[in-house]
């Protein structure tokens, strides 16, 4: 089959395996880890500030919240869907929670309601896909515009200042447990939990089946429509959670927040081995993808590379990293 186009040839298989295969699967992520290590070594020579605790902390903070969205997107991609609305939904969660808070509701309830509303958006999208039969792409594009519109409507386009949020709420975004920011603690636990669930739980196994071959899944008695709706809802819900954390962190809600986030998030998942045609992907890989993207950006800023060169370098590194990863993966699987 060497002659054929190997569109997805390099993407990972993420099913739990035993023995050799399990080690191989780990090695898929090992490719990305290797690239990251190389980057870290290079950077620690290039800048004395790179390998400092503060910089590591800062870099982690830079992708931790978006990482939550990456998790949702990866699961959705595995099920065969895609969601362009995540950036808008993040903003919507911020704005709605902020608006409710200013209307006098306590911030925890306001946040819960906002996250629920995001889940509602996910449900609406999921039903459009399964009931009407539209494609995820076009449905989420429409909801990306609608959710953004809702943000504008709620705020009149103006950012909402939430300086009055109580400190225990702000703790979510700004607090630390010991020296480690709460955001990072939350993020790490969250990622490990979802990585475990995705590899092991029967519920998420059905997501793989559905994404790999929806027809065969239906012929295995899996209610694929429910799986699709559930993953869509999950992705929107996690975007909502991320929105609330951002709100706690910035102490404000911006209706224009998260524009363009979707491409970044999808890119992270794909770098980490998720397939755009469904059935493949891992949380760990996707998060490594997000880390790669973020560390490259942070490094360029740290080195004070000219703005005009940054994009070119970022794009090239992205390309080089995925090519190298694919190369490693191919060699290993031989």
């Amino acid at each position: 089959m060497t002659e054929l186009r190997l569109q997805d040839a390099g993407t990972a298989r993420s099913q739990p395996r035993t023995g050799v295969a399990r080690r191989l699967a780990r090695q898929r992520e090992a490719g990305l880890v290797l690239i990251l290590v190389l980057l870290f070594v290079a950077m620690s020579f290039a800048s004395p500030y790179f390998l400092t605790w503060e910089n590591m902390r800062a870099m982690t903070m830079a992708f931790a919240v978006e990482g939550i969205v990456v998790v949702g997107m990866t699961i959705l991609l595995i099920s065969g869907g895609i969601d362009l609305s995540v950036g808008s939904v993040v903003a919507f969660a911020m704005v709605l929670a902020g608006w409710l808070f200013l209307a006098g509701i306590d911030p925890w309830t306001a946040s819960a309601l906002a996250i629920l509303a995001c889940a509602g958006i996910g449900l609406a999208m999921g039903l459009c896909v399964t009931r009407i039969g539209l494609h995820h792409f076009i449905v989420s594009l429409a909801f990306m515009v609608i959710a953004r519109g809702a943000c504008l409507l709620l705020t009149g386009g103006r950012p909402i200042g939430l300086f009055t949020l109580p400190p225990e709420f702000k703790f979510i975004g700004q607090g630390s447990i010991g020296v480690i920011p709460f955001v990072i603690v939350f993020f790490v636990i969250f990622v490990l939990a979802f990585d475990f669930l995705l590899r092991r739980s029967t519920a998420f196994r059905k997501v793989f089946y559905t994404g790999s071959n929806p027809k065969a899944a239906a012929y295995s008695g899996i209610r694929t429509q429910r799986v699709v709706v559930a993953t869509t809802v999950l992705c929107s819900t996690l975007a909502g959670v991320a929105g609330i954390i951002y709100m706690a962190r910035f102490g404000s809600a911006q209706p224009t927040f998260g524009v363009g986030m979707e491409l970044n998030v999808i890119a992270a998942a794909v770098i980490g081995g998720a397939s755009l045609t469904g059935g493949q992907g891992t949380i760990l890989g996707a998060i490594l993808g997000a880390i790669l993207l973020s560390v490259v950006s942070s490094s360029l800023a740290l080195l004070d590379v000219s703005v005009y060169w940054q994009d070119i370098i970022r794009g090239s590194i992205l390309l080089a990293a995925v090519s190298f990863d694919l190369y490693l993966h191919r060699r290993k699987s031989r």
Binding site: Q15, T18, R22, K206, Y209, S220
Partner: protein, 518 residues
């Protein structure tokens, strides 16, 4: 004699990772002969054909065409060299019309700038007329698997080739279409075209082929004139041992009729079939026969909740079972094995183990709702061994298996749950003789344990050898039933083809002829 050799394969080897698919294989093809290749699933037949067609490159070895060494680098090159190939796995462009699929290679090679659709459709209609009147303007996605198989064959017939490779072309065809194909093959061979014919059906090989080559475990075992040997010889050299009986003993016909397990009444979908009713006994193996497109698949899918029905009643063990969804059917012990292995039978990119466990994950999960990888591997290993699955690691994707072995994975999936009624649509498609006998044995064993089994098959000997009773479907209606001594090919064919397009007034008795046959 030497100039009679069109194709010579010398010492070809090919491996996929750890799996050695071909080990120094030799093969010779003469001008104008029909040369059968036989071998167990995973023996390397398709791999060799893929090498001849330029889809795969051999690790070592040489290919000679008309005495001259050639390097076949791509299917395009193979076509230039006059090699045509009907693939075991259907590979058609489903978004494109039948006509364009048939003439794809020609369109590709054409120097014309624009398409002449009128001529294309006319010619496609002409080609198809030799096999089955499929409308050339339909999209391939709207065709049943068997029709797609016919399109795949028609595609090869249009090629201006000197060597034609047919890799299990009849696996999804009924007797009628298969006979048409054999007629065409003989005509082509008479015209000097050499044909490589791969099949697991000994009858076909012995009725239609001149020579036969047997492979085992990637090795060339023997090449003989068909006239000089018996089927048993072929089977024995394939399997490497003497095989017992092909079919297990049937239910004792003298025994009292089985207690009814599943009864179906008035099943109608408003399109493909209507007023279907029958009763399946406990421990009975019931066959469904019919021509391509008779609606057999739809009927069984309808019973399982995989195809919408407008009316109909099911009774399982005496209690009514509403048709809701396939999940509901599975939970009540009804399972269905699809005829479209690749389309909806297996998850081609997922590991073998994950495929086998898909029907009921609870069996392989821990108390906490997490999949237990060891249990899963154990289950797949056990069922795989039972079916003689030839595989690498249990974690390899199904795509790394040979066609017949993929079918075994689909079967293992069915057997993983403990169903009360099993519907099997072409269960032994592409499965080798040995494994087939084993599958039949397993089915009979299940039946003896009280499971009801319905087999849809286009292979009449299988229906006759395996089933206790066979229902014949014609144009969406049950047209009759044969059992016991009346269970013969002639009777089934007669019921299946009857007079063409007779319109039967609604409500008239459905099986007068069947009654007569008892």
């Amino acid at each position: 004699m030497a100039d009679d050799l069109v194709l010579r394969i010398s010492n070809v080897s090919k491996s996929f990772g750890a799996i050695q698919a071909l080990r120094g294989v030799d093969f010779e093809l003469r001008r104008g002969e029909v040369h059968a290749i036989a071998g167990e699933n995973g023996a390397g037949k398709s791999t060799l054909m893929n090498i001849i067609d330029g889809i795969l490159r051999p690790d070592s070895g040489e290919i000679f065409l008309n005495g001259a060494p050639v390097e076949i680098t791509s299917p395009a090159r193979a076509q230039e060299l006059g090699i045509g190939f009907v693939h075991q796995e259907i590979a058609l462009c489903s978004d494109v019309t039948v006509a364009e699929n048939i003439f794809m290679a020609e369109i590709n090679a054409s120097r014309k700038w624009f398409m002449d659709y009128a001529a294309l459709h006319a010619r496609a209609r002409e080609t198809l007329a030799q096999l089955s009147p499929i409308e050339p303007t339909l999209l391939v996605r709207d065709l049943s698997i068997s029709s797609q198989q016919l399109v795949e064959i028609a595609k090869a017939l249009t090629l201006d080739c000197r060597i034609l490779i047919l890799d299990e072309p009849t696996a999804a065809l009924t007797e009628h279409e298969a006979q048409l194909l054999f007629g065409i093959m003989r005509r082509l061979a008479a015209g000097g075209i050499s044909i490589i014919y791969i099949s697991h059906r000994m009858v076909e090989i012995f009725d239609n082929c001149d020579r036969v080559t047997v492979f085992r475990d990637g090795r060339h075992i023997a090449t003989r004139e068909v006239a000089e040997i018996t089927p048993d010889f072929v089977v024995n050299s394939m399997v490497g041992r003497v095989l017992g009986k092909l079919y297990p003993p049937k239910r004792d016909a003298a025994a009292p009729p089985p207690a009814p397990l599943l009864s179906v009444a008035g099943l109608t979908d408003g399109k493909r079939f209507r007023d279907v009713g029958f009763t399946l006994g406990r421990g009975e193996i019931l066959g469904l026969a019919g021509l391509i497109g008779a609606g057999r698949s739809e009927i069984v899918k309808g019973i399982c909740g995989l195809h919408p029905v407008t009316a109909g009643r099911l009774e399982l063990d005496g209690t009514e079972l509403p048709i809701r969804s396939y999940r509901h059917s599975i939970d009540n012990g009804l399972v269905y094995l699809s005829e479209d292995r690749k389309g909806d039978g297996v998850f081609i990119d997922l590991p073998i183990a994950a495929n086998v466990s898909a029907l009921d994950l609870r069996q392989v999960s821990s108390r906490w709702g997490t999949v237990d990888a060891e249990k899963e591997a154990e289950q797949a290993g056990r069922l795989g061994d039972r079916l003689g699955l030839k595989r690498g690691s249990i974690d390899d994707p199904v795509s790394s298996l040979s066609g017949g072995n993929q079918q075994k994975v689909a079967l293992a999936k069915m057997l993983s749950v403990e169903p009360r009624v099993i519907f099997l649509d072409e269960p032994t498609r592409g499965v080798d003789v040995g494994a087939k006998a084993e599958i039949h044995r397993i089915l009979r064993e299940l039946a003896n344990n009280g499971v009801g089994i319905v087999v849809v098959s286009s292979e009449l000997p299988e229906l006759i050898g395996l089933c206790d009773r066979v229902l014949v479907v014609r144009e969406g209606l049950l047209n009759g039933e044969v059992a016991g001594d009346a269970l013969t090919e002639e009777n089934i064919i007669r019921l299946a083809s009857f007079t063409e397009r007779t319109v039967r007034p609604e409500g008239e008795s459905l099986r007068p002829e069947g009654e007569n046959l008892h």
